[in-house]
């Protein structure tokens, strides 16, 4: 009887679904386990975009893991951003070009292998070699022989950097291709981490479970969904983990992570979604963190377009800068998670490191009347209209671009003076920027690689520099940067970089908008949570109650 069999089948399906319901589960959603020094902290994570290798990780999600699993020659102080010796015993130079580096004795990788000078030299050579496709290869560009190992086009004529030489078990020398006095301070970046032999011997196995020399080891790694890190008890450094481990959990949406945090299923969210900023204070109280990160956001202009590269263009840019009401936008759109910018660096550098509040002067202050006069005197906006291009897929850029345009339109008394230009995806947006297709302004952002004033200026505004997307070029600026890099005294170098920033005030190649803060929230299960200057949580210092 066919009908009866069908009915039975349907009943079975329901029964299966119900029993499965009753017996399923097992995996505790979050919350971690244990308490005290062995407690596990659960934290939100995003799927890293690239394979987890030190010289191949250029975004914050992969960077988080590297920060737990690796320690390099230097480490940036989580609070001040100051570069302090970590594995480096000493880094010496008399001419800012030739450096002798001594590695501390007694450090090992978590697999027991000793960290030697060779661990660094091999890792750096690997990172620089073109054939390895490492996205952070340019970090090694100052080392002599980089052009041979990683030419701009064509094939490489060398696989190692001629400027690197191992001179002893724990010593090696580095020859730079130009004077760069602040170079040792760049060595805290993850790309300069040492690598164990297993990385080179069995690369695939290493990638599926990276082995490093930091305070944590990777216990379990399910690509795309979670990573469990555990404290490594044999860690020789003095920044040992103060918790039992970190469970990173990939979230499809940071709103869900935030919901999990408020429901008590998660201990730490290091990216508060924009839509929750209005109620984060009432939800979390003092468990909400909002601290400066080394990120500045700007409006960039196309200098390959002759209309912008003129004296009038300069006046228009200054006028536009004065037409943007930074205070209002940072307060109303960003709920104070941004701070109005008044120079081209970031507060995380500190005054000693080169941050100078108000360096930009009146050119970065809102003055609608003066702005209108300047732009009118200069013959109006080139092309008649300012179109600010941005990617619409992530980062809620639409809101602030519209606000900036409103501010400009209001100042100029013209509703069509400025419009937003959304681009579908980030990749397409970057495509248009890098292929010089944009004829008007676009949103630009810079997240520092290392807390140095040099990093906020040279890669962005030096002639033909790697991130000088607008192709701005100014001899006076270039000369001052060269001069600053050649200074052996750090304070003088910083001062000279600030002189070069004065050129930016005069020429306004990009309009500084605001400094971005890192925002995070945590549960009442954990304490001592802080974000470092890169807006990455200082995981090893988190304590579980």
């Amino acid at each position: 009887m066919r009908g009866a069999t069908q009915a039975r089948w349907a009943a079975c399906a329901v029964a299966v679904a119900l029993t499965a319901t009753a017996c399923g589960g097992g995996d505790s959603g979050g919350g971690g386990g244990g308490s005290g020094a062995d407690g596990i902290v659960s934290s939100s994570w995003g799927d890293p975009q690239n394979p987890l290798e030190p010289a191949n990780t250029n975004e914050v999600q992969g960077g988080k893991v590297l920060d737990m699993v690796f320690r390099g020659l230097k480490r940036y102080d989580p609070k001040t951003g100051e570069a302090k010796n970590m594995l480096a015993e000493k880094i010496e130079s008399s001419d800012a070009t030739n450096y002798t580096i001594t590695v501390k004795d007694g450090w090992t990788f978590s697999n027991g292998e000793k960290v030697t000078a060779k661990s660094f030299v091999d890792a750096w050579n690997y990172g620089a070699a073109l054939k390895n496709n490492q996205k952070n290869a340019y970090f090694f560009q100052y080392i002599d022989g980089y052009e041979k190992a990683h030419p701009e086009s064509g094939s490489a004529s060398a696989t190692t950097l001629s400027g690197l030489r191992t001179t002893g078990d724990l010593t090696f020398t580095v020859k730079l291709s130009q004077k760069f006095s602040l170079w040792p301070d760049t060595l805290g970046y993850a790309a300069f981490s040492p690598l164990p032999k297993s990385f080179f011997d069995d690369h695939d196995a290493w990638l599926s479970k990276p082995v490093g020399n930091g305070p944590y080891t990777i216990d379990q790694y399910a690509k795309g969904s979670s990573m469990n890190l555990r404290r490594w008890d044999g860690y020789p450094g003095d920044d040992k983990a103060e918790n039992g481990g970190i469970d990173l959990k990939v979230y499809t949406d940071n709103n869900t992570a935030y919901t999990d945090l408020t429901a008590g299923n998660l201990d730490l969210v290091d990216d508060i979604p924009a839509s929750q900023l209005t109620n984060v204070q009432s939800d979390l109280g003092d468990r909400y963190i909002n601290t400066p990160a080394g990120i500045i956001q700007t409006l960039a202009f196309p200098f390959y377009d002759k209309e912008w590269d003129t004296e009038n263009g300069r006046k228009v840019r200054q006028g536009l800068s004065m037409a943007i009401n930074r205070d209002q936008i940072t307060e109303q759109i960003f709920h104070k998670t941004r701070e109005p910018a008044s120079d081209w660096t970031s507060p995380v550098l500190g005054t000693e490191g080169g941050f100078k509040k108000g360096l930009c002067g009146k050119e970065c202050e809102y003055d609608a009347a003066a702005a209108k006069k300047m732009i009118d005197d200069a013959g109006g906006i080139p092309g008649g209209q300012l179109k600010i291009s941005y990617n619409a897929d992530t980062g809620s850029h639409k809101e602030w671009v519209d606000a900036v345009c409103n501010s400009i339109n209001g100042a100029l008394g013209n509703n069509r003076a400025c419009v937003g230009g959304p681009v579908g995806t980030f990749a397409d947006f970057r495509n248009q920027v890098s292929q010089q297709k944009l004829k008007s302004a676009w949103r630009a952002g810079w997240q520092m690689d290392y807390p140095l004033i040099q990093n906020f200026l040279q890669p962005l505004y030096y002639t033909n520099a790697s991130s000088n997307d607008g192709k701005w070029s100014n001899q006076k600026f270039d000369d001052l940067v060269d001069k600053a890099n050649a200074e052996t005294d750090k304070a003088t170098a910083v001062k000279t970089f600030q002189d070069s920033e004065q050129v930016l005030v005069e020429q306004m190649p990009v309009i500084p908008l605001w400094y971005q803060n890192g925002s995070a929230g945590y549960s009442d299960r954990v304490s001592n949570v802080a974000l470092n200057v890169f807006s990455v949580p200082v995981y090893n210092e988190i304590k579980v109650k």
């Binding site: 009753a22 054939k131 690509k223 979670s226 709103n255 869900t256 920027v433």
Partner: protein, 307 residues
Amino acid sequence: MGRYVIRRLLQMIPVFFGTTLLIFLMVNVMGDPIAGLCGDRQCDPATAAQLRAEFGLDKPVWQQYLTYMGNVFTGDFGTAFNGQKVTELMATAFPITIRLTLVAIVFEIVIGISLGVLTGLKRGRPVDTTVLVLTLVVISIPTFVTGLLLQLLLGVKWGIISPSVSSAAPLDELIVPGLVLASVSLAYVARLTRSSIAENARADYVRTATAKGLPRRRVITRHLLRNSLIPVITFIGTDVGALMGGAIVTERIFNIHGVGYQLYQGILRQNTQTVVGFVTILVLVFLAANLIVDLLYAVLDPRIRYA
């Protein structure tokens, strides 16, 4: 019957090639994905060129498509930008989404059809009106509203469920997301069944069956329901594909790392290999579901014959 199935299977081939080609072109039109790989800075030209060569992006599109299809037939769906094989991504994503879809379909069948039968037999009564209004409300509220609301109430306020699904995604954690995913279709199923039942309730064969003195229960299940289910089965069949591919919103809300999530990531990162691979499988699922639905017609209504 056999010849019909073979003809249908042969028809799938051009559909399959056509859809994959379309998806391939669409993703390619979006431009060079390598530009997005280096963040807010430009990739250095040499590395970008190397990466382009590695992913085959330096070749003309038709050649990329041919190579891709050639590889697909050997079971190689390429590599995602994070170094994982697309087949590996599929192996983790599809089981989760299939589980989620099953939960949703079970809800559709059990709740949707029961409500439909109930209201269809009691047309015009208060229960009929109530269900009609309720289904209208469910249809008019977008899924993400229902999802976020249930998540907030059940997950945060009352603590009955965990607001997010763990990476293993066991069945019990998928019940609420499954209900959310099913909600709109469920309402449609209820309404479809209702009108179908209401229409057939007046048919001659039902009157005959009742006149023969068959018990009411048997008249409904064996005679009325069986004939009334044809449009409903059609709807549920096409819904299988729609649910699997359209779970993006639900998967995002409940943090389910299924097909929707992988597709979303793939589109954001313009990863042709991931997007085309997943869509290819979804197309196959869709085609298979449609075929099964058509074959089910004959089972439900013996008057329908395939030659």
